[in-house]
């Protein structure tokens, strides 16, 4: 029996009931990596060495009649921009090619407390800048549903690993859609929590006011369980929210009766893929059938969200990435003096997209341009947020496509950064407003590529989102289908 194709909650139950062993599970997922990761290329660094030893300890614990935690003994993967003590954390950049953090991110401490089997660090767009994982300085990751397509990004490695069964669960980060969009492209569940819900301590910063860590999982049940583990206030992150974390599994109920769902007309944009529109509109219908009330709403500033995002995120990035100068850690390219050394290091070790954004950010913050660009962007950000505030006076959640298209072919957009940026139109507004959102599978394109449905909630309303997502998921079961990578009787 293969095990890699099952969600964590199923595997957890099987472990508890001694139907399987943690060793068998670890072996199976490792075998799966050996079978398919040569093609999918999800992992930048693998940490399988002590996996079996750890799994054996979990089995002994179960044999001794002890209770195990949800993720205990379940193999998972970590995006390579989350600091892991003693394990390389490269951000898929040449700049940090050999960087081994001396500390663990808060999220890692929380995950390690569950005693899972972490199999490695996953590929991403360099410093999380991109939406296709093509901006990795090492190699692109391939979409398990069609190897010639991108998995989305920037958490493309995490999404592809979960979709390919090379990890049962994963965590990623979402600055402008970097969890939700790859989840959509790979046919899995991905959640960006409310800004401040999950500690950012140890997440290598891209744009601090937008970044948020979240889970990528096979289904909504796993999403709720991983959220239970990673959410919560952290005194090391001043922007984390001091609020109780509800038990998200109590929201795993099939009930959307009377739930008011907003459908923003601005999200059904011209140029949107017909299959995506069809699938999303069908999902809306499905919600109606399930008893929800659909309300057409307007988020009038949506059209400015992309330009706002592409000023604020690079401005913060320019400052956050200034520390990579070759002085005390990371790579160094020698120069004739200190300025030459810094210049050469940054010129040679950053990739094109990172340099492009550093330049945009510097420009936006420069004397004489600050008011026209950065300050204006901050004001528009407030307007975008106010759109949502107003909408949420009428509705409980908002649904929209996650991305305007299904996964596209590798290399098909790399020469047109602007077109690539426009792909983020449905996801960036949430980051600007700090709102939680989930992407869940809602069907397939005519080429059988997954399509994602986005459900957006009020601040800290992850529970409502999970309830709506779970109800829909259980009524449709799109999540039960896994990518066919051959050789497997799934």
């Amino acid at each position: 029996m293969r095990l890699f194709d099952k969600p964590a909650h199923v595997l957890h139950d099987m472990l508890v009931h001694k139907e399987i062993t943690a060793v068998a599970l670890a072996q199976d997922v490792i075998a799966r990596i050996d079978e398919v990761d040569g093609n999918v290329k999800s992992y930048l660094t693998q940490t399988r060495e002590d996996a079996l030893k750890k799994a054996k300890a979990v089995d002994e614990k179960i044999a001794a009649g002890k209770e195990i935690l949800f993720l205990e003994g379940i193999p998972g993967a970590i995006k390579d921009n989350i600091c892991t003590k003693g394990i390389k954390t490269t951000c898929a950049s040449k700049m940090l090619e050999n960087f081994i953090p001396p500390y663990d991110a808060t999220v890692m401490n929380k995950l390690y407390a569950e005693n899972p089997i972490v199999l490695g660090k996953t590929n991403m767009d360099e410093f999380a800048m991109g939406g296709s994982t093509e901006n990795s300085a090492y190699f692109p990751t391939h979409n398990p549903w069609s190897l010639e397509c991108v998995p989305g990004g920037s958490s493309g490695g995490s999404a592809a690993a979960v979709a390919a069964g090379t990890a049962i669960w994963a965590v990623g980060s979402d600055t402008g859609g970097s969890i939700r969009q790859p989840a959509s492209f790979c046919g899995i569940v991905g959640m960006k929590p409310t800004y401040g819900r999950v500690s950012r301590y140890g997440l290598v910063a891209f744009a601090s006011s937008l970044d948020q860590i979240g889970p990528l999982t096979r289904d909504v049940t796993d999403c709720a369980n991983v959220m239970n583990i990673i959410a919560g206030y952290d005194e090391k992150d001043s922007t984390s929210i001091k609020a109780n974390v509800p038990d998200y599994t109590t929201s795993l109920v099939q009930n959307v009766k009377g739930l008011k769902i907003g459908m923003p007309k601005e999200y059904f944009v011209k140029g949107m893929d017909a299959d995506v529109e069809k699938a999303v509109r069908a999902a809306v219908k499905q919600f109606e059938l399930l008893g929800a009330e659909i309300v057409e709403i307007s988020l009038p500033h949506t059209e400015y969200a992309i330009s706002t995002y592409y000023l604020i995120a690079p401005a913060e990035a320019t400052s956050n990435l200034a520390r990579y100068d070759g002085v005390s850690y990371g790579e160094r390219v020698d120069g004739i003096d200190i300025v030459d050394m810094m210049t050469k290091t940054r010129s040679e070790k950053f990739g094109e997209e990172v340099k492009r954004r550093i330049m945009i950010g510097n420009y936006a913050l420069s004397a004489g341009y600050y008011d026209a660009y950065y300050l204006k962007a901050l004001k528009v950000r407030t307007l975008v947020k106010q759109d949502f505030d107003k909408a949420f006076e009428q509705v409980d959640v908002i649904i929209a496509p996650t991305a305007p298209t299904p996964a596209y072919k590798i290399g098909s957009m790399t020469n047109d950064p602007l077109k690539m940026y426009l792909q983020d139109v449905c996801t960036v507004p949430l980051n600007l407003a700090g709102l939680p959102g989930i992407s869940i599978p809602c069907g397939f394109s005519n080429k059988h590529l997954p399509i994602g449905l986005q459900i957006i909630g009020k601040p800290l309303a992850e529970d409502t989102i999970i309830r709506a997502a779970y109800t829909y998921e259980q009524s449709q079961k799109f999540h039960n289908e896994m990518a066919d990578l051959g050789g497997v009787e799934a």
Binding site: N81, S238, S319, R323, D325, S328, D337, L365, Y370
Partner: protein, 480 residues
């Protein structure tokens, strides 16, 4: 043409918190290099700052003591520039919403009062320290960075350009130092870099209002350097203007060895700091209640203490100012008085022999070899007439050297003043006998001639004769 200088100061003061501004690392001075560091102050990937609440408290206290308005909504910003002593290549500082604004400091120079306005006080982190193999980063083959100082909390106190002489600038800086010491928020040890100033100076023709082009001198870390650097710079600018030249807006360094200022960089080469609100920290909200509580918790400040010494102890404004300039000095003075010493005598001795000896040996009042109670005892001996002021100088010197108490010094060395009229009369008679010229002069109407006779008597009594008695006896005998 006659010019007047326009001077403004930016004073940086390290706050005496136990831990750094954004992490839990220690701040002690002189620790082994790179031993007081952690991922946060090293700016490693992924770390986040957490504000040390004590820093905010100290900054607010400084704001109150410098008569500022405390901003109830304040925030941090990033000041972006590349330098190898700055691990993140940005300094977390405050830009448009500093913790305190619109204050003032009153100074007194040559008997004249002046109010210097304080523009703002903001909080920020200190940078690390470069250790070069050569003299500067440019002529060094290698440079190392000591990150112990990285993240040590600073407040920057910015003044309006309200000063017009080096003496005023110095008095202002001394007053600010004194206030920070009183409220106990900074060690203010200038030799350890706790307190340093950037001096901005420009010239304008006397009587005009428009400001001239300024030069800035960075990191001045002694009062002498404030005096000297400003004096040099004012002269330099005056010469340029006299010759019909123009001042270049620039940053200059003060070379104390050569006694000159040198150009560092011009305005054109100045950094564009690309300020950005610090997204990793939340705004600092301060309530009226908190401000009130801090206000109540502050000790008596130098100005109030000075006024008290004038009103209660009858000191002159100058003496009171000198005594209260340092909190430790003022406390020492209070202690001497508490032991019953006369206030004026105490002030004279503290500002005179005691300060002279302290300065000569580079000591501070806290480690004075002469304790307050010993000085009080010595002053009591003077007041009682046991020793003369002159003898007291010898006693004080002995106290300074040996730490012995004044009573035993006086006893052991036989320094008790002779007040016995008969014993003194014997010497007086002998002196009159032996000095016919001054005697004749005095009798001829030159009353000052008596001085020479008094001197002779004192000399022969080895300084032990009571000068009052000597005077009295001489006069009686010569006038008879």
């Amino acid at each position: 043409m006659n010019y007047e200088a326009v001077i403004g100061l930016e004073i940086h003061s390290e706050l005496k918190t136990n831990t750094k501004i954004f992490c839990g690392c220690a701040t002690s001075f002189g620790a082994q290099q790179n031993t007081q560091v952690c991922p946060v102050c090293l700016g490693l990937p992924g770390v986040l700052p957490v504000i040390n609440k004590r820093v905010v408290e100290f900054a607010i206290k400084a704001g109150i003591a410098l008569n500022c308005k405390i901003n109830k909504f304040s925030k941090f910003d990033r000041k972006n520039y590349y330098y190898p002593d700055l691990p993140k290549n940005f300094q977390t500082s405050q830009y448009d919403l500093p913790i305190a604004e619109f204050g003032y400091v009153d100074i007194e120079v040559e008997g004249k009062q002046k109010r210097v306005r304080v523009t703002r006080i903001h909080m920020e982190e200190d940078a690390g320290k470069l250790v070069h193999s050569g003299n500067t980063i440019k002529d060094s083959a290698t440079s190392n960075v000591d990150y112990n100082r990285t993240g040590v909390p600073l407040i920057e106190i910015v003044s309006e350009p309200d000063m017009s002489t080096p003496a005023e600038a110095r008095a202002y800086m001394e007053k600010v130092k004194s206030i920070l010491e009183y409220i106990d928020v900074s060690n203010c040890k200038m030799e350890e870099g706790n307190l340093r100033a950037d001096l901005n100076v420009s010239l304008r023709p006397i009587g005009t209002k428009e400001l001239g082009t300024k030069a800035e001198m960075k990191n001045i870390n002694s009062f002498k350097a404030v005096d000297d650097a400003l004096a040099y710079e004012i002269e330099r600018q005056e010469e340029i203007l006299e010759d019909g030249g123009h001042i270049v807006q620039e940053t200059r360094t003060w070379d104390p060895a050569k006694g000159i200022t040198l150009s560092m960089r011009t305005k054109e080469a100045a950094h564009d700091y690309r300020y950005l609100p610090e997204p990793d920290l939340v705004p600092i909200i301060t309530t009226d209640e908190e401000i009130e509580a801090y206000k109540k918790g502050l000790p008596e400040l130098p100005e109030a203490r000075k006024n008290r010494l004038i009103a209660q102890n009858g000191l002159s404004s100058y003496d009171a100012e000198s005594i209260t300039a340092s909190r430790q000095m003022a406390e020492y003075f209070d202690e001497v008085l508490a032991k019953g010493a006369d206030a004026k005598l105490a002030a004279n001795w503290i500002m005179g022999d005691l300060s002279k000896n302290l300065n000569a040996e580079g000591k501070t009042i806290e480690n004075s070899p002469v304790a307050a109670k010993s000085l009080a005892a010595m002053i009591a001996l003077i007041s009682k007439g046991t020793i003369s002021s002159k003898i007291a100088k010898t006693v004080f010197e002995e106290m300074w050297q040996t730490g012995a108490d004044p009573e035993s010094i006086v006893k052991d060395k036989g320094l008790v003043q002779i007040t016995d009229t008969k014993a003194i009369e014997v010497i007086v008679d002998a002196v009159i006998e032996a000095n016919p010229k001054p005697v004749a002069d005095y009798k001829g109407g030159n009353v000052k001639a008596i001085g020479a006779l008094v001197g002779q008597v004192m000399k022969q009594s080895k300084g032990k004769a009571n000068p009052g008695v000597v005077n009295q006896l001489l006069k009686a005998k010569l006038d008879a």
